[in-house]
């Protein structure tokens, strides 16, 4: 079973002070650490588990600059067999639709049974790439997958829906699945795998090597800004029992429980 995993190298902003840069369209990144996008690590692990079960090869693909090769190498150490970097430096600003088209133009010539992507990237958070890519490749897809199993030609998946509902699907392969965090426990790389990965060649594809040269954009980033801080205070009056009942109602209405 051959599997493709799309991964992205993203800045780690959870433990950082995020500042907008001088272009007003990006954040200052020079002090930040970078790592594989969180849900992509689960997508890669899901691929590694499938490979353990069925054999076959895993190919990881990233549209990124040279630094993305570091992340691709980590993927090679954690179970991938081949790695492809599409040179992001060959393109100007890209929206999610363009990124999906570029990925498609490479993936359409590869052999695969399954494509995994993370369900969302922690930087742009569009959640579009996986599904748009599947549509462009004209294959079935399922998003936010929290449980996955497959046999040679069908996948048995569970998706997380709003309000705690789970959808159970039987999907014909080849298909694309966007993977939710927590579906598995991503593995460590062994030192043997690390050494092997350090020596592997990463295939680098430039814009002029793609079958297509125009990629339609359907959105433009206007500006990035820190939202103004808004405060809302609501005093719940009445007896302890009344105010607790009101509080319980609010928590329930907001779907916090």
């Amino acid at each position: 079973m051959d599997i493709i995993v799309c991964i992205k190298r993203v800045p780690q902003t959870a433990e950082a002070e995020v500042k907008i840069d001088s272009t007003g369209k990006d954040i200052e990144k020079d002090r930040l650490t970078f790592d594989m996008n969180e849900s992509d690590t689960y997508a890669l692990e899901e691929a590694a588990l499938m490979k353990e079960k069925f054999g076959g090869e895993i190919t990881v693909i990233s549209l990124g600059d040279e630094d993305a090769e570091e992340t691709l190498r980590i993927a090679l150490a954690k179970g991938a067999d081949n790695a492809i970097r599409i040179k992001a430096e060959d393109f100007d600003e890209l929206d999610a639709f363009q990124t999906s088209q570029i990925l498609k133009s490479v993936i359409k010539d590869l052999s695969y049974d399954i494509i995994f992507t993370g369900c969302i990237s922690t930087d742009d958070a569009y959640s579009q790439i996986g599904l748009t890519l599947a549509e462009l490749l004209e294959i079935p897809h399922a998003a936010l997958v929290i449980d996955f199993d497959a046999n040679e030609d069908r996948a048995d998946v569970q998706r997380e829906l709003e309000g705690g509902l789970i959808e159970h699907l039987d999907v014909a392969l080849p298909a694309l699945f966007t993977i939710q965090t927590g579906i598995n426990e991503p593995r460590y790389a062994s030192l043997i795998a690390i050494r092997r990965a350090a020596k592997k060649e990463i295939q680098v594809i430039g814009k002029d090597e793609l079958a297509q040269s125009e990629f339609i954009s359907n959105s433009t980033l206007e500006k990035l800004y820190v939202p103004p801080i808004s405060k809302q205070v609501e005093i719940l009056d009445g007896t302890a029992a009344e105010s607790s009942a009101k509080l319980a109602g609010i928590i329930k209405d907001k779907g916090l429980l």
Partner: protein, 394 residues
């Protein structure tokens, strides 16, 4: 499951990379096992931690080598159990530096994101905001606001570098405050760097995040030399050891003293003479990094012995170079070990069994580790830094 070793498993290449990364001591090991019996994990009954195997396994290139996901996770868990206390180094007949052998493996693992998540997040915080707590730089000097501690300026005798925990942690800030107040009381010329301070990076280097360490180390050296710093006083043995023993390799040119060394000298000279009685039984816990690693055993004791009324106790056998680690070194402070697998419990029991009212420490990591552990114990015993006790008695 015991590992069956067959010749094919031996991996020369991995051995050679690990040697390059600092595991050069491996061939000196003759498997006597002394390291295992002195290691604090040996005193934690629940955990089997065969220190003597690390040299052997490294010499065969069989470290973190399992192809099985769970076995590999267990191997990496072991590599991250070492708290770098150096007990094994001082007891090994050949002085083998086992923590550095393990750090060699950690360095390779860190580069490939294959280390515990909590340490990854600590490394990120140090790189992104300059401290392991993830606090903003602007708040770094908040502990000093009420004390009028000046910003360091060229010409001042000392830079006081409080370490990230005394700078930010609401409990441990009291250590920085006590220190500053003692220095002010004796008209010592000193200042702080405030928001320009960054973590010294000692612990994260031991975790294996060499790149993060190199970056903070170079930034600090630049800041110190740019500000004209010649002498640094530190509260933490971790800042102390890295400034003194590791920073010079990166071009640092300043002298560092642990605060207890500096105060002990003032006591010997007769400048500091505590007058208030402190009628308590106090047991001193030697921090590994100040004691075993840097031979500073007597100065902290000197700061306590001079206090009238204070009765200084020792942990029988396990004091000075046989002191048992609190468990916080080499990233241990941020690890989450099972309840019955904590070194801090073992050491606390030894300290409590002396019958002391107070545990005196000279390290912010020990202070935090013991305080956190004591919280769940409901005991009267208190943990205080040597400077806090000394300040009380002035």
């Amino acid at each position: 499951m015991a590992k069956k070793i067959i010749n094919e498993d031996i991996n020369d290449e991995i051995r050679e990379v690990l040697i390059e990364e600092g595991a050069e001591d491996i061939y000196k090991c003759y498997q006597c096992g002394k390291c295992t019996s002195i290691c604090p994990w040996f005193q934690v009954d629940m955990y089997n931690f065969p220190v003597y195997r690390f040299s052997l396994e490294t010499s065969m290139g069989m470290v973190a080598s399992s192809e099985d996901k769970d076995e590999l996770a267990a191997e990496i868990d072991k590599i991250y159990r070492c708290v770098g206390c150096d007990a094994c180094v001082t007891q090994c007949p050949h002085g083998i530096d086992t923590p550095s052998i393990l750090r060699a493996a950690r360095r390779l693992l860190v580069d490939f994101g294959s280390y515990p998540e909590t340490l990854k997040s600590t490394a990120q915080k140090i790189k992104n905001v300059g401290n392991p707590l993830g606090e903003p730089a602007e708040k770094r000097a908040d502990w000093a606001i009420d004390l009028n501690v000046p910003k360091f300026q060229e010409g001042m005798d000392h830079l006081y570098f409080p370490c990230c925990l005394p700078a930010y942690d609401s409990r441990i800030q009291n250590v920085a405050k006590a220190t500053a107040k003692i220095l002010q009381q004796y008209d010592i010329s000193f200042g702080i760097l405030g928001e320009k301070e960054r973590c010294c990076g000692e612990a994260i280097r031991k975790v294996g995040a060499e790149k993060v360490f190199t970056e903070v180390c170079k930034t600090n050296i630049k800041e110190f030399s740019g500000s004209g710093v010649k002498n640094v006083l530190v509260s933490s043995p971790h800042c102390f050891t890295t400034f003194k023993n590791e920073y010079p390799e990166f071009g640092a040119d300043f002298e560092t003293l642990h605060i207890t060394q500096f105060l002990s000298k003032l006591i010997d000279e007769g400048t500091i003479k505590p007058s208030k009685e402190f009628n308590k039984k106090v047991v001193y816990h030697d921090p590994c990094t100040l004691g075993r690693k840097n031979g500073v055993y007597e100065e902290p004791r000197n700061c306590l012995k001079c206090i009238p009324g204070l009765e200084l106790l020792e942990v029988e056998e396990f004091n000075r170079n046989l002191s048992v680690c609190c468990g916080a070194g080499s990233g241990g402070l941020w690890m989450e070990w099972e309840k019955n697998e904590r070194i801090a419990d073992v050491r606390l029991k030894q300290l409590i069994d002396t019958g002391a009212d107070i545990i005196a420490v000279a390290c912010p990591y020990c202070l935090q580790m013991f305080e956190e552990t004591l919280k769940s114990m409901n005991l009267e015993i208190q943990v205080l830094d040597v400077t806090e006790i000394l300040y009380e008695s002035l």
